[in-house]
Amino acid sequence: MATLNVNPDAHPESTTVDGAIHNDTAAATWATIHDASEGQYVSPSETTLYAARLESDADTKYPTMVRSIFLFDVSALPAGATITGVTVGFYGTAVSDGFGSQSLSLVGSTPASDTNVVVGDYDQFGTTKYASDIAFTSLATSQYNIFTMNAAGISYVETAVAADGIVKLGLRLACDVANSAPGGASKVTNFQCYASDNGSNEPYLEITYTPATVDYTMEVTKGEYTLTGVNTEQTKALNIIVSVGQYTLTGINVGLSRGYEIITEATAYVLTGVNIEMTKALNLITEATAYTLTGIDVVLTKGWQMVVSTGSYILTTFSSLFSGFWQYKDEHTSTYTQPSKNTASYTEKTKNTSSWSFKNKINA
């Protein structure tokens, strides 16, 4: 919960004003003094106002009636705020009720200017009460007399907030609002209060409100991770299944090790490094162009079975080593033979044993 407390501008006014309009008409009837279109003088820059006053003479005529205007700038209220309450306070400096049983009413006003009070504003007061009347028996000096706005008053403030932010109020005697002459000769009922020009204890309007809630939305995009490093390794896979173009492992040491079964499709692996090793695969099944091994040392070791189709291995190295195979099946010929000879020499280790050893030196 938050509050906004504002006062009318002191002279020289910028957006708001407070002041009284006096009608002094000797021996005026009630109708004359009540229905007059203008007063005789105004007090827009005094430190104390006759906020509401009525006098009767010896002949029960009403030579004096005073009404007062108070404007409040509430444009500082945050947008979207929900108003939960409004109070308006006037610091009493003089209170008297000669007529008896009188009350003070808070109503709306429509002055010609937001920054000045003129005699023509005398008849610019409404009759809708924006708070409960305060009886003169309850009005006090040396303290604020506070009106708590009713629903009509809050609605009036909300309308002003939505418009130009200026709440325009006025004080009148309740009998003035009701257009009901109180009767009695030589009587005075009067309420005076500090005006904005006093600099302290000024008239105020306070709004209690709940600020608007704010909804933030942060739309986020995906992040991507790519594995590239000095050591790029995928280890201990029981089953690595890849499709075309899946892995690009680039590093000084590139290893695929201990796969029980490594099944690749065309161009699935591109291993480029100083040392490239595929070890201990129980079953290496590749298709065409599945492996491109380029390095100083390229090793395929200890495969129980290596089934390749045409063009599956391209080994370009200083030395390439196939070792420890039971047999080498050429898918193209569907025969099991020892690796075929290249232009370089090879060494056949043993025949009819559980392993073959083949060493191939390729011209650089």
Partner: protein, 136 residues
């Protein structure tokens, strides 16, 4: 304008060393107003805001799977609702609350500090199609 995910340097190592499980039910959001330092690795490295007035920060994993060798993590949108003041915060981190040390995963920079008042909301709008992050 959409906010990009910023990687935590240590995340890739922590992921490779099984210290982070992206499929778990403990991916959580943390809020801080302090700019990121590259060496940050755990939740304790952050100066977090007070969460007394903040709703649940736990993320929901929609999918955690790979397709054709590219892993994608899809997270459901998360809306934080304040019941009082929350913040200020500018950076929104994701971490694995189940990991030892609450390892950091990534973060977002909202661009300016946000302070939520009671009733305010802050929604993290993830891409339901492309995911929060991919690993290829």
């Amino acid at each position: 304008m959409a906010v990009a995910l910023t990687k935590i340097d240590s995340f890739v190592e922590n992921l490779a060393e099984k210290k982070i499980d992206l499929s778990g039910a403990a991916l959580t959001v943390a809020l801080t107003n302090t700019a990121h330092t590259a060496t940050w690795d755990e939740l304790a490295d952050l100066t977090q805001v007070n969460y007394d007035n903040c709703s649940s920060r736990v993320l929901t994993v929609s999918t955690s799977a790979q397709t054709s060798g590219t892993y994608k993590l899809v997270l459901a949108d998360l809306t934080l609702t304040a019941t009082g003041a929350v913040g200020p915060f500018r950076y929104i981190y994701i971490y694995d609350d189940d990991s030892t040390g609450d390892k950091l995963i990534a973060y977002y920079d909202y661009g300016s500090a946000v302070t939520l008042a009671s009733g305010d909301t802050f929604k993290i709008d993830f891409d339901a199609s492309n995911g929060a992050l991919t690993i290829a």
